[in-house]
Amino acid sequence: MVSFALHGVGVSGGIAIGRAQLVSHATLEVAHYVVPPRQIPAEVERFSTAVKEVQRELEALHLAMTSGDVPGEFGAFLDVHWMILNDPTLSDAPKKIIAEQRCNAEWALTQQMGVLVEQFDQIEDPYLRERKADVVQVGERVLKRLMGKRGATAANAEEQTILVAHDLSPADVIQFKHHHFAAFLTDLGGVTSHTAIVARSLNVPAVVATHNARQMIRDGEMLIVDGGNHVVIVNPDRAVLAEYRLKQNELEIARQKLKRLRTKPAETIDGELVELEANIELPDDLPQALENGAMGVGLFRSEFLFLNRDGLPSEEEQFEAYRKVAEGMEGKPVTIRTFDLGADKQHELLEGLTRVAPNPALGLRAVRFCLAEPKLFLTQLRAILRASHYGKVRILIPMIASLGEIDQTLAMIEHAKESLREQGAPFDPGVAIGGMIEIPAAVLSISAFVRKLDFLSIGTNDLIQYTLAVDRSDETVSHLYDPMHPAVIKLLALAIGSANRMKSPIAVCGEMAGELAMTRLLLGLGLRNFSMHPSHLLTVKQRVLQTEVKALMPVVDRMKRVDDPAKLISLLDRLNA
């Protein structure tokens, strides 16, 4: 076995050593056989079933990614794939081929995919031509179903497995979140590819843009993936392997050191105490939050309740889920955000509501949607209140824009409490109620909001989207999405400064809270409560421990006033130096 190295772009750091698992191109393995006339209806049926199964798979994946760590862009791609799957040229034409050529379903589908790909190949525009990849990805999903395979198999627990693929579709990538691959390796892709985003959120190394890794590497070969150095070593010799094991150990030791920080209070050098809390999506995320020393749950997204289901979650079901987390945190705060559902989810849930908003981000979503569906909202509020008897539960209302919405929500909560009192159901009467600051209007109205609410939490992702009017999932403008835009920094400074002056607790629970490069800036702006993905808690804590807030102030004060983006970046570098 020859040892060789491949170079690519390391999009997620760290070292992994393991065996290659190739994601196969189903098309290459398709056999052709003749189907007896009697069995043709059954063969057509087998094809239809596979299409339906993939359809459900895509729908389940779409629901599974309700907000959370998965960028909205994935949803749009899944929609495109769903439509392609339902296109008669892909889902009906093969049936005709089965009947006419009396061939097996796999063969018929492969033929039809070939026809479609050929048509795409004739397109002159290179960008539009490449969309044939979507057709192939959808077709392969159906093929794999037909051939009784699911995308990729779960990794063997004892041996580390490294996934090697030509490219990963968004649907693949979401599924891989649940397998335990030690690293990802793809021929295509870039820093913002799906592979990169998921690898970073899973904290595993990834190297993309290797050009031909999928062809050069064979199944089961030993690989070293060094994400930090953009390199992959195939069939390493003993010396190299030993060297990398050593490096991997060093990284592991650094990680273990971090783990020792678990119980240490997050306190700056000059004695400022900082609360570090976890964002969770499922009750099952709780152990990870606790392992990483979370002082509470700063954001419990409740949309998971809509996973893999048709109807609305019942009050009992919601109550059980909320109670599990409330009890699991043993008296530490658990902040449950009420449903942040967008227009895309609504018509799946509520029959008759088929109106599609022309501009969903500005449409009927989050608290607006909940107030428009009082029954759904009341059910959730009752479930949360009932759970408050079992721990320190707080209610967080997403996307508030006006005092009127706060008043209406508070009235709903009062109504929910009243109905529980009548039934004699126990709840915490003093349950804290907070609002998400995600809209520039909310920042500018913050002092009025503070008087009505017990706490605030800034959702930086949406705040940036609404401030800059940039949809990050739209690839034509995503480069304009800039957390370091001077306007964003000014809004953050205003929000945190005003809340602190009025002695109202304020947190950041957006992606920014978990970004190491932003920790010092946020501390300097006066933030003392961060809520983030559990995997970032300890590195951020380490940064807090190494920071003296007083020393940051001169630079941060300048950053609040700077209008030149380049200057802002150089000041940020100085903070982090």
Binding site: D87, T89, Q119, N359
Partner: protein
Amino acid sequence: MQTREIVVINPLGLHARACARIVELASRFRCRVSLVIGKRRASAESILAIMMLAATVGTTVRIETDGPDESAAMSAMVALFAGGLDVRV
């Protein structure tokens, strides 16, 4: 039947997500919606057919609507194209 000619204004042309918008919009009307470029015609029911029209920026597309709600469908389609095929799906 109604027909209107309109120019594709978004820089990436009729890419996958823009096509998805067209299909999604057309599905809300009862009439038949077709897009025609030169001699090539695509039903707005089929995302692949529209993708394969490969309309780049600057291409003139003829929109045809035919059926009970053809005028409503036409104005919705024209608005979609005029808005640069707002890519949110």
